[in-house]
Amino acid sequence: MTSKFNRRSFMRGLCGGGAVVVGIPTLDAFLNENGNAYADGSALPVRLGTYFWGLGLTPGRWVPEKAGEGYELTPQLEPLGALRDKVSVFSDFVIDLDGKPNIQHWTGQAAIMTGVAASQGRSFNRGSFDVTAADALGVGTRFRSIEMTPFGKASLSYSTRTGSSFNTPETSPIALYTRIFGEGFQDPNSPNWSPDVGTMLRQSVLSSVAEQRAALLADAGAADRAKLDQYFTSVRETEQALESQLQRPAPAEACVVPASPEEVSRSGQIDIVNRNSDLMASLTAMALACNQTKVFNVVHSSATSETYLPGSTNIYHAITHDEAVDVELGYQPLSDRLATQAFFGYSGFLHAMEAIPEGDGTLLDNAVVLGYSDTGNAKIHSVENIPMFIGGGAGGRHKKGQHIVGNRGPVSRVSLTVQQLAGLPVGEYGIGSMQTSSAITEIMA
């Protein structure tokens, strides 16, 4: 908005008519004595994240032998390090295709994020659960959710309201930084705050756009109506984001506005992708600490991952198919290295969240971060035993640090569990054979 709308003209507008009342933060910022809830007894907010990487993990290299608590850190789980006790591991869950084809490098993520295998490539049969979760969790935050990919490709996102249009990811750390801490960011700890009248007027513009909804939808057929409906939802969400900026932000103790990251070149080289992932992890953790969003979705690499080891002549996806299983080792050695690197991406996010204190614990203790992939055995495109992980304490709801063996139960059980851990009132999840009301209660407090 133009600088014409400064604070002075705003106050003039206010005073011209009468009273001025400056709002107070809606949340009581004071914590209880134990530091694990607000003083009024309400729980600290739970943050939800999803983190996808392509091509699964390497068979024989990640599933712990021990089930339940205290599972051993298998070679590919080593990046978890000290966080093992805050992460649960899920093995031997499967996807029921219900007669649909196994759409390679697509069926897996579709089934985990929507509870039903996709009927076709490029779209899901319905929206992904993170979006409904964000609708519930993200009320009053500036961003309903934030999507990103350290691989740098704008088509890499599995977060979708409709199954058709996917939420666009930020493709570089600097883009992510600008989105969160650039224009429109209000430092929650700044002593000076006043509502920006320009924001208010822009909100009025969006409100007027939103009011066309009923009329326009009434004129459209089913397919166009669905598209326009999503459009108007986006208008409302943007409007609400502006509205949140008209509130004095609640102070956030751990919020420290980070410096802008440097521009990095785009590359599929795995160490560069992971460096971007780590930068994005710190920025995301701070975005959560600064109450800018409560939900984030990351795609580390595409399901046909084009990442590669420095100096290699082959991309990861091709390697999973071409590399022979080493007879002595019992696994594909190059694939193993790349898979371990991909898992570093996920664990890097957990470590970044663990580094931020919150109440008597850490940000990670009040978060649920699903880690997942598309295949259980990339060499043959198997969608059985797709690696899945839940990191974070979910505000005490997660009896964390366990290895759960699925006994060929549907992956939707894990999706349902994630939602319940995030505090959402979801009783069942999935469609067809994947429909389940059976959350994994072993890990729920």
């Binding site: 490539g121 089913a222 785009r266 991309i315």
Partner: protein
């Protein structure tokens, strides 16, 4: 209104009783909604919504305002369906992250338009006083720009809505232009701008449903210029000229003979040739040190220049794109092609010599590098792309449980070339069916590496570029070019792509098939001249015909849209 209710302000944590009570925020939401809601009897019904592409957005802003406006923002990715992004955009909506970007881009346009230096250019009137609202002047401004941006005249309610927003802003800021900025924002974040909303109406003469004049004008303009209709085309829509063969032809002639037609053709080939793969294109640095963003951008430009030269400037035979040696060269590309580049200047005409083996659009860096791995060439990817792009032939997904070990084992002492490894892999009966269709085409291009550089050997073994497809033997790019040139699918694919790109759907109904067959015949008869073919399509009534309403199949829609849909079904779609 306008939106800001007292309740909303209270919810925002700021009590603004003063503002809510002040006259500046008087609203009339009910009036506006009532005016926008159309009577159900003869309601223009939305028959398609297609999200503007990034280039369309940029072109429209440049046309309506100025090309100097810096639009920095992230556009949401598009999606290819039925070989074309143009079809995919009809499936896409706008996510909230994407919408926030549109808001921010719209703000930069708004700031530009009301900037002190630019007001005289953009405003059709001077406000009575610069520090206050002027409803009449604002209404004139909104009407003028609204029509260009929405590609149709605004209703009175739509104008009033913006005048209200502007008045509120002007009074609060004591600045007419601050209000105008809100009006611009309001236009640019509206669905009517961001989507190409196509409306149907009832033909008063026959009672049948048809595309309305404004939607016809847009379809035409986006096909030929990749932008919104200009004032003259809107006038033609307004006075019904597009309904007469002569009036329609006059407009098509005018658009095709304009230099802007080149923009349309470039946008078309950018879509068809799948240049979106440039997003995220990376080459392994050690193997391909010559690759850079500058090379990628230049390569793209080279291919577009080549196509424009053959098809527009020379009005040549479409099939020549499969055999041409003529192109344009710049310095960064010359380094990759390993050819000399003399003198100053950006681009020069260039012809590849016979020795280079380069002939046909697919021997340029764009195609060769886009359809390769970061480190190696891929005959399969190239074959698949040739089938899709030039022949409109889809390849099924590979079967599960494929063992690619042979293909990718670059250290195999016996199978040293990609070709040898691929052929060994393709003997697998499960794989052979599709590979027989893809690989020969790609194998003929094996003399070019993953960046498109010429090579004669791979791992010390000479590269063999012979291939056989459906009993026909050929060798190298030249052989491949002849195969494509003589393939009947090539011209029919081109015709199909032009039509599908224009109407934004995959044509497969009976009348569409018949229409495309006739257009393909005409294309052959005119010597495969592309401008004439595009003109023929753009002047045909079938280009504006409503599609068979697929969405009717859902029960929900039948109930909701029973009125207009029934008319459509009985009147036109039998």
């Amino acid at each position: 209104m306008t939106a800001i209710s007292f309740k909303r302000f209270a919810a925002a944590g700021v009590a603004l009783a003063a503002i809510a009570a002040a006259p500046v925020f008087t609203g009339h939401a009910a009036d506006a909604v009532a005016a926008v809601t159309r009577a159900s009897d003869d309601a223009p019904t939305i028959v398609a919504t297609r999200r503007l592409t990034e280039t369309q957005y940029r072109n429209i802003i440049a046309d309506v305002f100025s090309g100097d406006i810096e639009i920095s923002g992230r556009f949401e990715p598009e999606r290819r369906e039925g070989f074309l992004m143009a079809i995919g955009t009809a499936d896409l909506s706008i996510t909230s992250g994407g919408y926030q970007q549109y808001v921010s881009m719209a703000r930069s346009v708004g700031r530009h338009v009301v900037h002190e230096d630019n007001r005289a250019t953009y405003f059709p009137c001077a406000p009575e006083g610069a520090t206050q609202a002027d409803d009449a002047c604002m209404a004139e401004f909104v009407r003028q720009y609204g029509e260009r941006l929405f590609r149709r005249p605004l209703t009175d309610a739509e104008v009033a809505e913006r005048v209200d927003l502007a008045r509120n802003g002007a009074e609060m800021a004591e600045d007419f232009y601050a209000g105008a900025e809100l009006a611009v924002l309001s236009l640019l974040v509206s669905p009517d701008f961001l989507f190409r909303i196509e409306n149907a109406e009832t033909d008063p003469a026959t009672g049948e449903r048809r595309l309305d004049d404004w939607s016809m004008a847009s379809r035409l303009s986006f096909l030929l210029w990749d932008t919104a209709p200009d004032a003259e085309l809107l006038d033609a829509a307004r006075n019904g000229a597009l309904r007469t063969p002569a009036g329609l032809e006059a407009q098509v002639d005018r658009l095709v003979s304009s230099p802007r037609f080149e923009d349309g053709v470039r946008a078309f080939f950018t879509d068809v040739m799948q240049f979106d793969h440039f997003d995220g294109l990376a080459k392994e640095g050690n193997a391909y040190p010559k690759f850079s963003q500058e090379v990628a951008n230049s390569a793209r430009e080279q291919t577009l220049r080549t196509l424009v030269d053959i098809l527009l400037t020379q009005n040549g035979d479409y099939r020549d794109i499969f055999t041409t040696r003529d192109t344009f060269m710049n310095r960064p590309l010359a380094a990759v092609y390993n050819v000399p580049y003399f003198g100053a200047g950006d681009w020069k005409p260039y012809s590849f010599d016979e020795e280079s083996g380069r002939a046909g659009i697919f021997t340029q860096i764009t195609f060769l590098s886009l359809f390769s791995h970061p480190q190696r060439s891929s005959p399969t990817k190239r074959g698949l792309a040739l089938n899709e792009i030039f022949l409109c032939t889809e390849t099924p997904l590979p079967p599960p449980n494929v063992d690619f070990s042979i293909v990718n084992d670059v250290n195999n002492a016996l199978l040293r070339t990609t070709r040898a490894r691929l052929l060994a892999h393709s003997t697998d009966p499960g794989c052979a069916g599709c590979h027989q269709l893809m690989d020969p085409l790609g194998l003929a291009l094996e003399q070019y590496d993953a960046l498109g550089q010429r090579r004669d050997a791979e791992n010390g073994a000479a590269i063999d570029v012979t291939a056989e497809l459906a009993g026909v033997s050929f060798a190298g790019a030249e052989g491949l070019g002849e195969v494509l040139k003589n393939d009947d699918r090539a011209p029919s694919c081109m015709v199909r792509n032009v039509f599908a790109y224009g109407v934004g759907r995959d044509p497969h109904s009976e009348w569409e098939t018949t229409f495309l067959e006739a257009q393909t015949e005409a294309f052959a008869e005119n010597g495969y001249r592309v401008p004439a073919m595009i003109k023929a399509i753009a002047t045909s009534t079938d280009f504006y015909r409503l599609s068979d309403p697929e969405s009717l199949e859902t029960e929900e829609n039948q109930t909701l849209a029973a009125g207009p849909v029934a008319a459509q079904a009985t009147g036109e779609f039998q």
